[in-house]
């Protein structure tokens, strides 16, 4: 990791090189998305229809929003494998509140606060209990998933009030999830790059001891970043729970891994200390673009996961190659 940091440090010499080495991953993903759009629409022009574009981008918006929080967690050198289960729990809470007759704004915002509270406990166990985050969140995964099915008995929530469906609303013709995703991504990106708090997350992930020595309250930051991540899970829930007429007591299988994958493909190093949330949002869009492209090209959707698997491996291998090259260059 020290080699990696050294290479980033030296890359500061020239502005274009620095831009490329910081945003290389984001540029590559954006290029792949564009390439897919050009390729698929040249075969099937309907791919570029406004409706289809909206569906592609808004369908995975909740994954992109959850991946913003996940990226922050990974940048500090931690991980959360329980976020999928958390979104399931929050969706059920939100739906239950709405059906019970609470005002809609309350059903929308409650998951954000509860998500922050639950992950605050996780963060405290990690920071003050000195437990590895993967162990705590592995336990939390069981607790949340098991708890949800125990309480709901697997029943779906129907009869949601009509004004509950936030994700189906539009502003200037663009679905609400896209607005939320874009605004949150930009805000989070700016916040992480230009505030002391945001910068400290990179510092903790790069070298926790050095961060502590330079006066960053590492434990408190870890608890705070887990709470922020929980709030983003709540925001993701707002998009996820309100898109359909029903709320199931299960979430898509391996949802937590999809969210982690979006962060990682987006350029967040699992070793901590690097990456941006623009990359993770682009990666979430890339997943749904691939899914839609396969449908338009008449490829069996059963191959989707294999394609994503290859994509992860290729991205990571290319990234490793680039880093090795940069380290060599820096050493010379």
């Amino acid at each position: 990791m020290s080699d990696e940091n050294a290479s980033r440090f030296r890359a500061r010499r020239s502005a274009p090189a620095r831009f490329l080495s910081t945003y290389g991953q984001e540029i590559i993903i954006a290029a792949v998305i564009l390439l897919l759009f050009v390729l698929v629409s040249s075969i099937n022009p309907r791919f570029l229809g406004a409706n289809n574009l909206n569906t592609i981008i808004s369908g995975n918006a909740y994954i992109a929003v959850a991946a913003i929080g996940m990226s922050m967690i990974i940048i500090t050198g931690n991980i959360d494998v329980s976020v999928g289960a958390l979104i399931g729990v929050l969706a059920t809470i939100s739906g239950t509140l709405a059906v019970a007759g609470y005002p809609v704004w309350f059903a929308w915002t409650a998951p954000i606060l509860i998500g922050a509270a639950i992950n605050g406990i996780v963060g405290a166990l990690v920071a003050y209990g000195r437990l590895p985050s993967i162990v705590v969140t592995l336990g939390m995964l069981s607790i949340l998933r098991g708890g949800l099915v125990t309480v709901t008995g697997g029943a779906w929530i129907n009869d949601l009030p009509p004004d509950f469906h936030f994700a189906q609303q539009r502003l200037i013709g663009i679905p609400a999830p896209i607005w939320v995703m874009v605004i949150l991504t930009v805000l989070a990106f700016l916040w992480m790059r230009h505030t002391a708090f945001g910068r400290s997350l990179y510092a903790i992930g790069g070298n926790a001891e050095a961060a502590r020595a330079s006066g960053i309250p590492v434990e408190r930051r870890i608890v705070q970043v887990f709470m922020i991540h929980g709030a983003f899970a709540g925001l993701a829930t707002l998009l996820f729970a309100t898109q359909l007429r029903i709320i199931q007591s299960t979430v898509p299988p391996n949802l937590e891994l999809t969210i982690i994958t979006a962060s990682v493909i987006g350029g967040v190093s699992i070793l901590g200390g690097t990456g941006t949330v623009i990359g993770s949002t682009l990666a979430a869009i890339l997943f749904s673009t691939i899914g839609a492209a396969m449908i338009f090209l008449n490829i069996s959707p059963y191959w989707l996961r294999a394609v994503i698997g290859v994509l992860i491996l290729v991205t990571v291998l290319v990234d490793m190659q680039r880093r090795t090259r940069e380290i060599r260059k820096a050493k010379r």
């Binding site: 098991g146 708890g147 070793l271 069996s300 491996l313 291998l317």
Partner: protein, 314 residues
């Protein structure tokens, strides 16, 4: 013998297992019967095989998230080789095991040769292998295997479930290899300090590649047993089993950062989880409630163990 040695993780865990067994036995007359114990052993075998080799993986400081997908892929390939390609079933099983081992080997190459962090590498192959299984099977299942094949998953040898013999054999071999051989010490050395291990001339890369291949092989064996036990082949088999296996290993006292962990610990972790699942369901608790308890036990055990080992864990 110091106090710290008395309170080592495995001792705490063994105490927990005994307490759980006694407490659960009071809830139901059918819990501590030979039939029930053997049957629980049968249900534990697949995750057990994977968890035993996962102990090696985690001791090297790695992780293998792709085992559930390898299990599913092997199951699908056995079905396809037998029904669609028309190979005799023993050959099809052999080919499935080879494919599963190769999948693990690929993990090892990506991790050891290309230096990709294990979490990401196996996250990628988790999607890839499950994707291949889904793509090949197109959601069709294969049934109607010959009668002899079911002996593996449903039959008994000398009054004990067939697969339990295999689990016992693997557990004993693994315990000896990890505890008493050069190979085992190399595994700990790689996990404690990889750079130092490299400078001491240990074959770090090959150790890792061999361990991930073994992990693939264990998952493939679990796949064959799974198919035999439930008499059918589906592409979603083994989904999530990686987290069950990792839970057992971590509960067993292995450090997720590498360098620490024992086979005995993993076995105790497996037994505790299975005892809680079965005992509570016999006592009338719904299985989902048990899952909650397992999560809580995992966090609390590691927290408790950390209290006694505060200095060594930092």
């Amino acid at each position: 013998m110091t106090l710290r040695k008395v309170f080592r993780h495995e001792t705490i865990l063994a105490l927990l297992v005994v307490i759980a067994l006694i407490a659960l036995d009071r809830q139901s007359d059918n819990f501590l019967t030979l039939d029930n114990i053997l049957n629980q052993g049968r249900l534990m075998t697949e995750v057990g095989l994977i968890a035993i080799i996962m102990t090696f993986v985690i001791v090297t400081g790695g992780i293998d998230l792709s085992v559930g997908s390898i299990l599913g892929l092997t199951a699908i390939l056995i079905g396809v080789f037998w029904e669609n390609v028309g190979l005799p079933l023993p050959v099809a099983i052999g080919a499935g095991l080879v494919a599963g081992t190769f999948a693990g080997f690929v993990n090892g190459i990506i991790i050891a040769r290309f230096r990709v962090p294990a979490l990401i590498a196996t996250l990628g192959t988790l999607a890839l292998y499950r994707g291949i299984a889904e793509g090949v099977s197109q959601a069709r299942s294969v049934r109607g295997y010959p009668e002899w094949f079911y002996v593996l998953g449903q039959g008994e040898v000398l009054g004990v479930p067939t697969q339990l013999w295999l689990l016992g054999l693997v557990a004993i071999t693994a315990a000896i290899v990890l505890g008493y051989t050069t190979w085992g010490r190399t595994t700990y050395a790689v996990g404690s300090n990889e750079v130092a291990a490299r400078f001491s001339g240990l074959p770090v890369d090959w150790t890792k590649i061999a361990i991930y291949s073994a992990s693939g092989f264990a998952a493939a064996c679990a796949g064959a047993i799974f198919v035999s036990r439930v008499s059918t082949t589906r592409s979603d088999m083994g989904t999530g089993i990686e987290l069950d296996a990792i839970t057992a290993v971590v509960l067993g006292g292995a450090s997720i950062f590498g360098g620490r962990g024992t086979i005995i610990g993993t076995l105790l972790g497996l037994i505790l989880i299975q005892a809680l699942k079965n005992g509570l369901s016999l006592a009338g608790v719904k299985s989902d409630g048990t899952v909650v308890l397992i999560g809580a036990v995992l966090i609390l055990t590691i927290l408790l163990s950390n209290l006694f080992h505060r200095d060594t864990n930092r």
